[in-house]
């Protein structure tokens, strides 16, 4: 069964204090690893997709990297508006009717709080 573990569960940073969030995974047939941001009372908002080890993606102060066993979300010089829960998910493979489909398995998330 696919599994995703995120650490730490909660992270408090001062504005400008860079850090990283970790996502460890086990999956049969990785089709993609996804990072989402979730604000209170809202649905997850897509950030990045990574498909293979060594791949990196960047967006503003965020940078996601991928190895064969884990992914990191690096936050450089965070601002208070970066405060949110960051979710990692892997897409494994589901076979149905002779066709392969994706199935997302999420981690429990990291609650990031950035203080001004």
């Amino acid at each position: 069964e696919d599994q995703v573990t995120q650490s730490p569960e909660a992270l408090r940073l001062q504005e400008g204090e860079s850090s990283s969030l970790n996502c460890s995974y086990t999956v049969s047939g990785l089709r993609g690893l996804f990072w989402y941001r979730q604000d209170p009372g809202k649905g997850p908002e897509f950030l990045f997709t990574l498909y293979s080890a060594g791949e990196e993606k960047e967006k503003e102060r965020l940078k996601a990297t991928l190895t064969k066993k884990e992914s990191f979300l690096h936050i450089t010089a965070p601002k208070p508006e970066d405060s949110a829960t960051y979710l990692c998910a892997v897409q494994g493979k589901v076979e149905a009717g002779g066709t392969s489909y994706g199935k997302l398995t999420f981690g429990q998330g990291t609650i990031l709080t950035v203080h001004p």
Binding site: G32, Q38, G43, P44, Y101, K103, L104
Partner: protein, 112 residues
């Protein structure tokens, strides 16, 4: 303008009642999902439909019955609601293949 929309946003109901949550997407996607987020914020897949056909059913009680009248809609009907059904339910959609899923704003269901 909204990509994935769910109604209602909040739902408070008594134990034993039957309720439905509706979901619509205007992204032209062919795969839709229902996820449940519990009090610990853990997001878990319940169902997935591709072109109106059920693809994934993750050991969900048969009191939960999804229905997909067309590719753009996936509704969730829940019979005989229990206290443990209280959670936030998210609808999502994606294109078939290795692509990201886009989520609705969620429906907070409270069973009293």
């Amino acid at each position: 303008d909204t990509a994935v929309s769910q109604t209602p946003k909040y739902l408070v109901t008594q134990m034993g009642n039957d309720k439905s949550i509706k979901c619509e997407q205007n992204l032209g996607h062919d795969t839709m999902y229902w996820y449940k987020q519990d009090s610990k914020k853990f997001l878990k897949i319940m169902f997935s439909y591709n072109n109106k056909e059920l693809i994934i059913n993750e050991t969900v009680p048969n009191r939960f019955s999804p229905k997909s009248p067309d590719k753009a809609h996936l509704n969730l009907h829940i019979n005989s609601l229990e206290l443990g059904d209280s959670a936030v339910y998210f609808c999502a959609s994606s294109r078939t293949g290795r692509t990201e899923a886009f989520f609705g704003q969620g429906t907070r269901l409270t069973v009293v």
